[in-house]
């Protein structure tokens, strides 16, 4: 005798099982349309593999499993696929969903089946795959894909297989009928599943003791096998998976875990039979036994119905009187749900169609206030506190609901059944569960949104920074360009500036003076050979020139090259013929002579050059004064300086101090020019603001005149630079006006 444990709570509602057990298992005609939903199981919907218009045979696959957690769908009779569309589903929402609609041809021609009587010769993995492709899903009501349960993880060895023949819900007798009529198939199914699960230590079929015939039939069929047939006292809801495990093993499945976690697999007896038929006979799941019961029907019995048969068709075959019925319920009175239309089909999980009369199952009376009587918590098989859950469900306090283990509620309805205030407690829990799931979904979405938003902000900031960097780079480049321009301008300015010109000239002279005549000659020779080469090249090009334009260009190039060549030849000849005439050599000679001179002689020479320069400067000054040139003052200053220098030199000569004379800078032309330029700069610095302005005005006037002249020339020639020149002239005019006004103000 199997040891039986007790579960907490539970109720004893009227069983109402005899009505449907009086008649034997029946069969009904095929309907005009078979509506096969793609999602008759838990998990992902199956994917259609037939098209509208296809002819299908009984048992043919019409939809493949849509993923691992899914099950196939088969044609439950031969015929033609007339639609793949949304049809009302057997679901409490009453929603429509994708279905394959078949118009049966009435012939019911089967596909070729592949029986496999000796399944022990095959690997369990292959058999599980076979079950998966046969579309077997839990037939007790939940529709869990059976193949998944039969392929437990390697780290979860299964020690107990339980077949659930409890059928604790009132009215439903589908499993009872099956066990009575086909006990050997149930036992074979148990053996198959035990083989698939690696022969667990214990295989037990649990049946409530209100089905003595079924127990007797199974005991007879299981004679001599280790399969236990356990009968136990009737109590609702013993058939719940977790409750049944407790009853038969004394173990409890922890909250949030599945039975496989504690080494147990529970399967419905109907599922076991379907699996056995799928493996041994090769038959896919195309029909199931359904209890058709209720006072609104003439005939109450169990029928084997092809999946996809509309409920209305089943009811019509049993003399349904719509006027008498209070509603149509799919499933039992405790856990079933009312459907609004009879168009919904019978699916893999439809174990009962209940059509009660008003008296039989009246609408529940209005809910009264909870009086905290505690009967619900006594009835709860999951040892929850339904009154607290009700309270928090009404307050929508999700945290508290979870703290009170709402998700351990199996929605059996025992609490609502015993409630003296007729509060639809389970309804509240279902709504609360939905709310919490929705809140979780919303939370996930909000988190994702936050991430997306943050990422977007970051991206925008990055783009902004990149733009800013580019802008800065551009600004820098512009500044650099401006600076360059300004430098160029100032260079040009200094070039035009007499001081800088003088310095540059002097430096150039000095540099050329440093070059020996030999080097110069070598350079010139190099230049000569290069010029000759260039000329040859230009001539060659000219000979090859094809068009007139090119030839013209080449001719010009040849001419330039010729000119250059003659120039260089000339220079070279000069260098060869008269090296003595070379100013550089002359300067060197002079310098050598100077070096050999005694200090006294040097001073004398200095004085001579200085007085000579003074004379020249004075002449220049006089000329400037007569011309009223802007440089008068500068020249004056230069003259003064020269005079001072001359005086100094004379003084030195007088003092005969050779050291001081030696210390003086070599008085060659370059340093003199530098001196001159410096003097000029100093003179300018010494000028008053007004003088400066005045000078600026005059120079600007000169420049403006020049610019105007240039502009006129350009206009006359029609040069493309006219615009640029005009703007330059305008700018100069503006500057001049500006400076003049400043001068007036000063």
């Amino acid at each position: 005798m199997t040891q039986i444990w007790n579960i907490p709570g539970g109720i004893h509602p009227p069983e109402n099982k005899q009505q449907s057990l009086r008649a034997p298992l029946g069969h009904i005609d095929l309907p005009a349309e078979l509506v096969l939903p793609l999602n008759q199981h838990l998990g992902a919907p199956a994917e259609p593999v037939v098209a509208v218009g296809d002819n299908v045979k009984t048992g043919q696959v019409i939809a493949q499993p849509g993923g691992q957690f899914s099950a196939a769908v088969h044609a439950s009779s031969s015929g033609r696929v007339i639609a793949i569309e949304d049809r009302p589903l057997p679901h409490p929402s009453g929603f429509a969903g994708p279905c394959i609609v078949i118009a049966p041809d009435g012939l019911d021609t089967w596909i070729n089946l592949e029986p496999c009587p000796d399944y022990r010769a095959q690997e369990p993995v292959e058999l599980v795959q076979k079950i998966r492709l046969a579309g077997i899903a839990g037939m007790g009501g939940a529709g869990f894909p059976t193949a998944i349960k039969l392929a437990p993880k390697a780290n979860q060895p299964i020690d107990t297989l339980i077949l659930n023949g409890t059928e604790c819900e009132p009215y439903i007798t589908a499993d009872d009928r099956l066990m009575r009529d086909r006990p050997e198939q149930v036992i074979e199914g148990a053996r198959l599943m035990a083989y698939l699960l690696g022969e667990p230590d214990r295989v037990v079929i649990g049946i409530e003791d209100n089905k003595p015939e079924a127990i007797a039939a199974l005991r007879a069929a299981a004679e001599g096998s280790p399969i236990e047939i356990a009968g136990f006292p009737t109590k609702y809801p013993s058939g719940g998976e977790k409750q049944l495990i407790t009853i038969l093993t004394g173990r409890e499945v922890p909250a949030g875990k599945i039975p496989a976690d504690i080494g147990i697999v529970v399967q419905n007896v109907g599922t076991a039979v379907a699996a056995w038929r799928a493996v041994v006979r090769g038959e896919p799941l195309i029909s199931r036994i359904t209890t058709v019961v209720g006072e609104a029907l003439d005939v109450q019995r169990n029928v084997e119905v092809r999946l996809g048969t509309p409920v209305a068709h089943v009811l019509a075959a049993h003399g349904f009187q719509a006027a008498k019925a209070s509603r149509i319920v799919l499933g039992g009175p405790m856990m079933g749900y009312a459907i609004e239309t009879g168009d919904v089909p019978v699916v893999k999980t439809t174990n009962c169609i209940l059509a009660p009369s008003q008296q039989e199952l009246p609408a529940p009376p209005p809910a009264q206030a909870c009086i905290r009587c505690g009967m619900c918590s006594e009835a709860c098989p999951a040892s929850l506190l339904p009154q607290q859950l009700y309270w928090y469900a009404r307050a929508q306090d999700h945290e508290k609901l979870e703290a009170y283990n709402l998700f351990d509620c199996i929605e059996c309805g025992a609490c609502a059944y015993v409630c003296p205030s007729s509060i639809p407690l389970v309804h509240y829990y279902r709504a609360a569960k939905g709310d919490i799931r929705q809140a979780q979904v919303d939370k996930e979405k909000a988190d994702r949104s936050r991430e997306r938003f943050a990422f977007r902000q970051e991206r925008i900031a990055r783009q902004e920074a990149e733009k800013e960097a580019k802008r800065a780079e551009r600004a820098k480049a512009a500044a650099a360009a401006k600076a360059k321009m300004a430098e160029k301008k100032s260079n040009a300015g200094t070039a035009s500036d007499p001081v800088a010109t003088a310095i540059a000239k002097a430096k150039a002279q000095q540099a050329s003076a440093q070059q020996s005549p030999v080097e110069q000659r070598a350079k010139l020779e190099r230049q000569l050979s290069a010029a000759q080469g260039r000329l040859a090249l230009a001539q060659e090009k000219l000979s090859q020139a094809e068009t007139e334009e090119q030839a013209e260009k080449c001719r010009a190039a040849v001419k330039t090259a010729e000119i250059k060549l003659t120039d260089v030849q000339q220079k070279l000849a000069n260098a060869k013929d008269a090296p003595k005439d070379d100013p550089v050599a002359a300067a060197i000679e002079r310098a050598k002579a100077k070096l050999t001179m005694s200090p006294l002689e040097k001073l004398n020479a200095t004085i001579a050059t200085l007085s000579e320069r003074l004379q020249k400067a004075e002449a220049k000054l006089a000329q400037a004064q007569t011309e009223q040139s802007a440089h008068v003052e500068a020249l004056q200053l230069g003259v003064d300086k020269l005079r001072a220098k001359l005086n100094e030199a004379q003084e030195e000569l007088a003092s005969h101090s050779p050291t001081t004379a030696d210390e003086r800078a070599p008085d060659d032309a370059a340093s003199a020019a530098i001196e001159r330029a410096k003097a000029k700069a100093a003179a300018r610095a010494a000028m008053s603001d007004t003088d400066k302005l005045r000078e600026q005005v005059s120079s600007l006037e000169v420049r403006l005149d020049k610019a105007r002249q240039k502009l006129a020339d350009a206009e006359a020639e029609g040069s493309p630079h006219v615009d640029a020149l005009r703007t330059a002239a305008d700018k100069l005019a503006n500057k001049l006006a500006d400076t003049q006004s400043r001068l007036e103000n000063a």
């Binding site: 999602n39 589903l89 679901h91 409490p92 929402s93 929603f95 969903g97 609408a363 009376p365 209005p366 809910a367 469900a393 009404r394 929508q396 639809p424 309804h427 509240y428 279902r430 709504a431 609360a432 569960k433 939905g434 709310d435 799931r437 929705q438 979904v441 919303d442 979405k445 909000a446 988190d447 994702r448 949104s449 936050r450 997306r452 938003f453 990422f455 977007r456 902000q457």
Partner: protein, 199 residues
């Protein structure tokens, strides 16, 4: 030692207390440095409760700035998309009385919406793409745009910028997987039910 203490009771007490305070001060100072919390945890907590629509109806440029605002003492009832449940949650967190939603910032809508672009009217101006805080609109210049419905939070910020008014806010469709049981309607007496059954 004992003699010293008994001779100078007040001085020794002061020394003892002083040294204790120094030790504990050092411990606290170390803990303050070692276990320093980066950022403002309250802001993060409030932000976690906000619906992240980034709609700006509260007057802030996003949910986090509003969370910051709440942490700085702003009213907590300025978030219409979150509605009363968000207000309650924040009130719980901050341990304050939960006010009702400030209607000035918009009305709470029970029905979540999602933006929908009438694609044949879209001119491909990309204005809605720039407005979308979720990057939930796909498209390119002169190309038709479309909304990634799963990422759309229904903030309706894309509706105004559209020059051709081709964006609608449509209610989110309940599917079989998103369907949940409605909570039961409370009937006081049996005749209530008959009326709404008839209705």
């Amino acid at each position: 030692m004992i003699e010293l203490i008994s001779h100078h009771p007040i001085a020794s007490a002061l020394i003892a207390l002083g040294s204790l305070s120094l030790i504990f001060g050092a411990v606290l100072g170390f803990a303050a440095v070692r276990f320093k919390v980066e950022g403002d945890p309250v802001v993060a907590q409030i932000d976690a409760l906000l619906p992240q629509t980034q709609c700006g109806q509260c007057g802030h440029p996003g949910c986090r700035p509003y969370a910051q605002g709440i942490a700085n003492g702003e009213p907590i009832n300025k978030c219409p998309p979150g509605g009363q449940s968000t207000i309650n949650a924040i009130a719980d967190l901050l341990d304050v009385e939960a006010p009702t939603l400030d209607e000035e910032h918009g009305e709470e809508s029970d029905i979540p919406t999602v933006a929908y672009i009438r694609e044949d009217e879209c001119i491909g101006c990309t204005k809605c793409i720039q407005a979308c805080p979720m990057d939930a609109i796909l498209g390119a210049a002169k190309q038709m745009h479309t909304v990634i419905a799963d990422e759309c939070t229904g903030c309706d910020l894309c509706v105004d910028p559209c020059p051709v008014d081709c964006i609608d806010m449509i209610p989110v469709q309940t599917t079989l997987s998103s369907w949940t049981w409605e909570p039961p309607k409370a009937d006081l007496i049996a005749t209530d039910r008959k009326e709404h059954q008839a209705a």
